[in-house]
């Protein structure tokens, strides 16, 4: 009854096995058990998007996912997107265009934006605003966040064209 279960996750390409109670939320498994602290807890009520991760290819809010639900899933967090030595184009664009102030929402913003640009490499400003609506910034830096995502989109498309 309600005992711990064996959970296997692939996080940023590495297989992780752990025992967890089914009710543990994915965000806490990542942060507290696996020490992957990029995804943040802003609200724990599915609103803010600070906990956004990519699960089996889709952005989700990891505070609304039970550890047990995620069993067997592939997960990407901000740690799997870029590193201080090799920033992802989006991370660099956020730096260049002042897309962050305190930085609390940024991991969720960028993780979400990677999927947004995969699905729609040439978004309009409205597409970005619509696609990022589930990510809240308490510093309210939305103008620059949108600017950063659009700048990254331009850079990624140019790079892709150059490669072709």
């Amino acid at each position: 009854m309600s005992k711990k279960m064996q959970i296997t996750l692939t996080v940023n390409g590495e297989t992780q096995e752990l025992l967890a109670e089914p009710r543990e939320l994915l965000i806490y498994v990542l942060r507290e058990r696996l020490n992957i602290t990029g995804p943040h807890v802003g609200c724990e009520t599915s609103h803010c998007g600070a906990c956004t991760v990519t699960m089996d290819g889709k952005s989700v809010k990891s505070c609304t996912v039970f550890a047990a639900q995620a069993n067997g899933a592939e997960i990407t967090t901000i740690e799997g997107i870029g590193s201080p030595d090799s920033l992802h184009v989006l991370q660099n664009a956020f730096r260049e265009h002042h897309g962050l102030q305190c930085g609390f929402c940024t991991p969720g913003m960028i993780t979400r934006a990677t999927k947004l640009l995969e699905d729609n490499p040439n978004p309009t400003e409205e597409d970005v605003r619509f696609g990022m609506a589930g990510n809240l910034c308490r510093c309210t830096g939305y103008q620059n966040i949108v600017k950063s995502v659009l700048a990254a989109a331009t850079e990624l498309s140019a790079a892709k064209e150059a490669a072709e």
Binding site: P22, R23, L25, K58, G134, N135
Partner: protein, 347 residues
């Protein structure tokens, strides 16, 4: 959060066999998990149906209808080009709901079954007849801004929050289910229930019954050129409806040959009034006609508290959705889906 047993059954029949009183099916979890965090719901057994095989397809039926599996994700359904072309107001309603991340997780079945956003329901320390029969209603005389103006009684004044369900009601969708007593079809009009004497029974589902799919007829797709969903909310994105309306028309030689109108945010189920629809038949589309139809649709409305404002808003949003439907479905999804702002929001 309470402790619970977690199960991932391999088939629909295993899922149903595993069900017992106090158990809950888990789709995407975007509603159930949040309600378990506050303790409003405390199932002892969680049956994760998200990976059940065969329920994640959108199929065309031999009779021209469409069948959507209960596990099709909200984002997948809204983004399917053929589906959106045939049922644009369903796609628009879905796109106007929640956020990208939530639509990626939310399933069709879970959307139909999502619980009211009444804050007294969500707070386990408030009285609530829906959580527990005979407990009383904490909302009565409380904060009732977003509560019902139609079909309510003193037992419960909550509204159904789903955007998707409003066009499904307008289009006479059919819900396919399987339960301990076998399979059956439920007409959408009978799916959600008004509180009556049993506010704790929100839908027609029997204990343990599982939604398998939703079906739409070929006639439901016939109004694809003239259908709109419109949603008023406190901000233009990522917010539930205060009031909303789904309107679909068929027009021939400048006259209305079929009219469908359902109103959301006003009752425990999407609100449809046959007399309001009948009044438009044979008439040329016209603003005044739409105003009269909307007035009939809201005829029985009464505030359940501090929410009389909704009646006027619902009338206007209903009339405007009809006018927008008459003007024609936009060729592409509006940048702000279902919004009263932007270029697709004017006639």
């Amino acid at each position: 959060m309470n402790l619970f047993d977690y199960l991932r059954p391999a088939s629909v029949s295993d899922a149903i066999a595993a069900w017992q009183p106090g158990a809950a099916y888990l789709g995407g979890g975007t509603n159930l998990v949040d309600l378990m965090k506050t303790g409003a719901l405390q199932p002892g057994k969680v049956i994760d149906i998200a990976r059940l095989p065969g329920l994640d397809r959108i199929e065309s039926l031999p009779d021209g209808g469409t069948r959507i599996g209960a596990l099709v994700k909200n984002s997948v359904l809204a983004g399917d080009p053929d589906f959106a072309a045939a049922f644009p107001m369903i796609a628009e309603a879905l796109a106007s709901g929640a956020s990208g991340q939530l639509r990626n997780a939310a399933t069709l079945g879970g959307n139909l079954m999502q619980r009211t956003r009444c804050v007294y329901f969500q707070d386990p320390h408030s009285a609530c007849n829906r959580r527990e029969s005979g407990n009383g209603c904490g909302a009565l005389g409380g904060d009732t801004q977003n509560h019902a103006v139609l079909g309510w009684n003193d037992a419960c004044i909550a509204t159904n929050p789903s955007d998707l369900c409003v066009p499904l009601a307008a289009l006479d969708a059919v819900v396919e289910t399987q339960g301990p007593n076998g399979r059956r079809d439920i007409a959408f009009a009978d799916f959600h229930r008004l509180p009556g004497d049993t506010p704790e029974r929100e839908t027609a589902l029997e204990p343990g019954e599982l939604i398998l799919a939703v079906r739409l007829s070929s006639n439901a797709a016939a109004s694809y050129q003239n259908s709109r969903y419109l949603k008023l909310r406190e901000r233009t994105s990522f917010a539930f409806a205060l009031v909303s309306a789904a309107a679909a028309l068929q027009l021939k030689d400048g006259r209305i040959t079929e009219a469908r109108l359902a109103i959301g945010g006003v009752a425990a189920k999407p609100w449809r009034v046959p007399a309001a629809e009948a009044l438009m038949l044979g008439q040329p589309p016209d603003t005044d006609l739409f105003r009269r139809a909307a007035a009939v649709a809201l005829e029985d409305a009464t505030p359940s508290g501090n929410n009389g404002y909704k009646i006027d808003l619902a009338r206007r949003i209903a009339a405007r959705s009809l006018a927008l439907a008459a003007a024609g479905t936009p060729t592409r999804m509006p940048a702000l889906p279902a919004s009263v702002f932007g270029e697709s929001a004017h006639v």
